[in-house]
Symmetry: C2
């Protein structure tokens, strides 16, 4: 049995980096960038006017001029005009337009107190400053600067920045091919009516949902027979076609827990089997003959879903080239919740004040009780604690 | 001009509820449930064994028996056996199996200290309790109980619970038809090389990305001409085919801000135009002739993306029948950040201790600076404050 921290590290260390592929900007939301996006020009590329108003020379204003001759209009989307060198000249400008050359000052329309044909007079209360309402060329970023480094998760801001740089397609991490399959002779498909001693398969569905919400595209393959002879060729076929195989059930030490022996027979190398955390102690991880990762989770739904959040997703995210976001730390009174030698993933309910309370969930077979929680905090084994009230990393249920 | 709170309420009050449709369980992840899912049976449906071990009568143990006769094996997936009424009988049981009838006690395999053909002896240190390691029928939920009420967002746990209840298809909210279109004569498509006075269109891309990350499926339609005569039939066609129209640019009070007049000409009813918040004061909202919602956001990328997070998404989520999640409250020193009459959405960087710092972002045209922040806190207008250090609702950038 390994510690939870060791299990995470072993899994991270053995997960191969995802390949990369080209992806259109439209389809890149939520993907992980693999080649940096550089500023292809200065941002902004020109001295950009930030207010509707009038561009003029501040020196003319300083010389006392308040009535200016309008010698043109500069809309957005046209080349920069040149402000007439005549003293007291101005150009009407729109937000987004390039500032007329030799102008260095924008007076917004709100400062106008009088208009005559071809001219405009500004209020004496106006207090322009040279450069005000001008978004200077290159002030956000210089051409050539790395704006989005490789490893960036492409959210709404990043997609906008990539668009600005002309990245109509992007190099992103391939999505790994993930198969999910449940075992258990008591399991039947969702659309069948169970006998009293049967239950509908739910783990595969919830695991697939969690992975989809994290941006992956798993293949959910239903239920595998508990009979190793039937299961063997199926698992072999799945291994040949996938990068990841996620199993639930039959992974413990009982006489019918056939998964560990079957994986060994399929030339998979055990990385660990048994993790000192709860729920989910029986979880195991194997390396397939072509470097596939096989994670066998317990069949208890709470254990299985917790294992996805704590072990599988961090490894999948790291393999994509991204850095998993720093966990939110939540304050909780965990004095009665710690275990001596085990890491504990404790379901909690968030409170409006930002702290959390342990949720009154049931045993690890109680999936319904889990609905009362918002996520879980991960408590270290007792002895690692500095105090009873403390902050622990929080994971939101996907 | 309306307050930020008023703008939110007006938009929520005018957004029609989404229609509903049937959706397969496999495709329902991230959707909003519209018809409650009830427990179709007790959960668990039978007294479920929680450990590999032996089922026996606690009264036999209490009578001092430690060596039991094994009179059968109960795997998962078969009907409950009946434990022999002979004193000192037990049944070998697997995790997930129905508890043999008349047995009330599970001794895990770890408690076995000796085995003989057909018999098993338990350690004197074993301390069984009646009912221990038994997950009692109906203890999680009773048949008929509402497990997932209408309005539930279908995450991984909810999909698992729906699967358990046999919900192979679910009634969910339809995704609204959303069109996104940017205006601005300075804008060119991403795949073109701009003149120095042009910029590539990015707002539509980032808005589409934000909506996709929130589970919507918007249609992104590129750039609309600033010429009202060209724009008019295009907008009319978009209104006829969509529930939501999201525009950026040309919504302020300037001479080329043609959007408000054009929407009026298209028989759209103004709900508000101008909101006392920053960034994004010029934002407006109109109601189309068939109840469509039109939100016209400023062209500044920071204003546009903030408006999506603060106004558009809460209304879209509410219209889907879901309750927007309670905002996380974050402590921040906002003493220098407040505005007298305006709500302020202030970009912040999260710190490991759970507090946040204002991010050093640029002006509302600086999209690149926004990358340095994790999200924003929403500060009320000054005067509503109880103290300088306080907690404010935090929104993570999508």
């Amino acid at each position: 049995m390994v510690s939870f921290h060791e299990a995470q590290q072993i899994l991270l260390g053995n997960t191969p980096a995802a390949a990369s592929e080209c992806c259109s900007l439209e389809a890149a939301t939520g993907r992980v960038l693999r080649a940096s996006v550089l500023a292809d020009r200065d941002f902004p590329a020109y001295d950009r006017v930030m207010m509707d108003g009038y561009a003029l020379r501040f020196s003319d204003w300083q010389a006392g001029e308040r009535s200016f001759q309008i010698c043109g209009a500069a809309p957005a989307g046209q080349a920069a005009m040149v402000l007439s060198s005549t003293f007291g000249s101005c150009v009407e400008v729109m937000t987004g337009a390039p500032c007329p050359l030799t102008a260095d000052c924008i007076l917004p329309v709100e400062d106008v107190c009088g208009k005559a044909p071809g001219g405009v007079t500004f209020a004496h209360s106006a207090a322009p400053i040279a450069g005000r309402y001008l978004h200077r060329a290159g002030s956000d970023a210089a051409a050539g600067e790395v704006l989005l480094p490789a490893g960036t998760l492409l959210g709404s801001r990043e997609i906008g920045v990539a668009a600005s740089c002309g990245a109509a397609s992007l190099l992103v991490s391939c999505l790994p091919k993930i198969a999910i399959i449940a075992t258990g002779d008591e399991l039947i498909p969702v659309d069948q009516v169970p006998e009293v001693y049967q239950i509908r398969q739910s783990n595969g569905h919830s695991i697939a949902a969690a992975l989809r919400r994290a941006g992956f595209a798993p293949q959910h393959l239903g239920v595998l027979s508990d009979d190793a002879e039937i299961a063997r060729p199926i698992l072999q076929g799945l291994l040949a076609a996938h990068d990841w195989l996620i199993l639930t059930g039959a992974v413990s030490q009982g006489p019918r827990d056939f998964v560990p022996a079957l994986l060994k027979a399929l030339s998979c190398k055990k990385l660990f089997h048994g993790v000192a955390h709860r729920p989910g102690k029986p979880v195991g991880c194997w390396l397939g003959p072509s470097g596939q990762i096989i994670v066998a989770l317990p069949g208890n739904p709470v254990s299985a879903l917790t294992g996805i959040h704590t072990l599988v997703l961090p490894a999948l995210i790291r393999a994509s080239g991204a850095t998993p976001p720093l966990a939110r730390q939540i304050e909780i009174n965990a004095s009665n919740q710690q275990l001596p030698e085990f890491t504990r993933h404790l379901p909690v309910t968030l409170l409006p004040d930002g702290t959390a309370l342990p949720a009154a969930t049931g045993n690890s077979g109680d999936f319904i009780g889990l609905l009362k929680s918002d996520g879980f905090v991960t408590l270290p084994p007792r002895g690692h604690l500095s105090s009873i009230y403390s902050r622990y990393p929080f994971t939101l249920w996907l």
